[in-house]
């Protein structure tokens, strides 16, 4: 419990530092007044707007005003949409979350068995195919994979729609396109596109973990006990290779949410990534700042969850970080 509280305090501090960095960074680029104001406006109108927005005040004052507002949940209004920036982002978040979630599920559900197979049967044709595929997976550029997926499965075979998010269904109060067939069809290609790189990584981690663990004495002892092979592999081996995979999945998930930009753009997926790209292009400061802070918070939460999971998987890891 103490550990969780300490981690939360660290997280708050981290968020604070990030808010400062983000604010400074955004302060340094461009002048939002140029976009906001009618080019025909007089100098007097211009000065009035600057004063109204508080842009004439010194940097640190602006920062504290900003921080005070953020603490009250106010990230300012989008210059472009003239609506609260945070609301704009949270509106898009489910689309990105469901996509990232689907991608991670694909990566883990396929990656762990394939990697373990490659680790248990090295040198076989199947294992070499898996490993060659994983090299392709993370060396072929993501955008090219996306275009190829669209060309083959949408254009040539016509199995999946080319772009967009399909119908949204509701299940237990959660609205997501995971719950309709049409939604799943729309999601398949972008999710696969997002998953491929991570799938390749999961395969590699699962394989190297398997190779390391299968040579351990406790696996040999498990055999000496006369356990059946499935139990040895699914309980004794799997539990021991999970830690690096959980780390990767935690980090990947954050990365997928934050940087699904390319995939979302290509498949016209109405998620946060697409919003942020548009906002940067239009110098929509409040949206960019709010987005970055939301991402920081997501990363912090994921990190915390990963650490908590460690202690569930490996009893030797105590939450205070010491090994017993």
């Amino acid at each position: 419990m103490v550990y969780v509280i300490r981690r939360l305090l660290q997280a708050v501090f981290l968020a604070l530092v990030m808010s400062f960095l983000v604010f400074t960074g955004i302060f340094a680029v461009g002048n939002p007044v140029d976009i906001l104001i009618d080019p025909e406006a007089t100098q007097a109108e211009r000065v009035r707007l600057i004063a109204q927005l508080g842009l004439d005040r010194p940097f640190h004052e602006q920062y504290f005003v900003f921080l005070g507002n953020v603490l009250q949940g106010d990230f300012g209004n989008s210059f472009v949409y003239n609506r609260p920036a945070l609301g704009l982002i949270l509106e898009r978040m489910p689309a990105t979350l469901e996509l990232a979630f689907a991608a991670i599920v694909i990566a883990v559900v396929l990656g762990i068995p394939l990697g373990m197979y490659a680790g248990l049967r090295p040198g076989t044709a199947g294992s070499q195919t898996v490993m060659a595929g994983s090299i392709l997976g993370f060396s072929v550029p993501n955008f090219w994979q996306a275009i190829m997926l669209i060309m083959i499965f949408s254009v040539m075979l016509g199995w999946f729609p080319v772009s967009g998010r399909g119908q949204v269904g509701e299940f237990m109060g959660i609205r997501s396109s995971l719950f309709t067939l049409n939604g799943l069809q729309h999601m398949a290609l972008p999710a696969i596109n997002l998953a491929i790189g991570h799938l390749a990584l999961v395969i590699r981690l699962a394989r190297s973990g398997t190779q390391e663990v299968k040579a351990q004495d406790f696996i040999r002892f498990a055999r000496a006990k006369g356990l059946r092979e499935p139990r040895i592999v699914l309980v004794h081996l799997l539990r021991n290779i999970l830690i690096p995979i959980v780390t990767l999945v935690g980090m990947s998930f954050g990365g997928l949410i934050a940087f699904a930009v390319v995939t979302e753009s290509i498949f016209a997926w109405p998620g946060m990534g697409k919003l942020i790209i548009d906002s940067i292009r239009q110098l929509d400061r409040p949206v960019v700042v709010a987005y970055l802070i939301v991402i920081v918070v997501i990363f912090i939460i994921l990190n915390l969850l990963v650490d908590l999971l460690y202690s569930l998987i490996d009893p030797r890891i105590r939450l205070d970080g010491a090994k017993q």
Binding site: F218, F221, A224, K225, L227, R316
Partner: protein, 323 residues
Amino acid sequence: MSLLEINNLQTHFFTSGGVVKAVDGVSYHVDRGEVLAVVGESGSGKSVTGLSVMGLIDAPGRVVGGSIRFDGREIANLPGHAMRQLRGARIAMIFQDPMMTLNPVLRVDTQMVETIHAHREMSKSAAWALCRDTLGRVGIPAPDERMRAFPHQFSGGMRQRVAIAIALLNKPDLIIADEPTTALDVTIQAQILHLMQGLVEEDGTGLVWITHDLSVVAGFADRVAVMYAGEIVEQATTDSLIEAPQHPYSRGLIGSVPSRNRRGARLAQIPGGAPPALNRPEGCRFAPRCAYRMAGCDAPQSLRNNVRCWRADELPAFDEVPA
């Protein structure tokens, strides 16, 4: 009929550098309630022999010849599922490093109960109770609590007791113990030895005790097989081996036990090291290190009267050799 009879066992490893004949024609037998010590230095093939009996030789290794009869039944190269039914049920094995033999992420009760369920139907609670009682039997205090602990919460000696308890769970006829005390403190070693001695006596279990430490053997084993470079060089009852070793290698081993040496005198040793497994001498494998070597030693040696040395009868009595 012996419980375990190994005859001319050959276990080879097919490596890129050549065929390593880790076990090259080994024969020994163990009866119920008997303790056989297999002694030899690292690489002599003593562990590989044990693993061959368990059917636990991994690629690139393979049992290529000879027979392993367990309770009258040939088990060398038995199909996997049949071997699995024997392993942990009728033949159990304990390994050297107790820090490594228990799965670090599973609780002790999980690792024990699964051993029972791999071999027979039993309700979860009955299996749990049996495991707890077995933990108590190997001298683990407060077994009820310790069942729920993880391996890292045990000391090395206690972990080896857990491993022994696991080996005992299905009341095996034979236990193969591969240097189970080597990684432990001397005092703990003595406790484990004492424990094992009591347990095999109680249950009438046959025990193969693999070790490189002769001092462990005395007073514990009934018979000793000395292995060198993949072969057995001498087999005898423990008393006669310790008092009157025949083979020059056994003599060397016993001569190098420090307690035998006079205080202040230089410690006795066997010069040189074991030959590399891929490049063993053509004739007697011990000849390059042997103090009694002569021209006739270039021929391969066979076991005669349980000693693999053609000159064994001519050598001076062991007691007369200056320490």
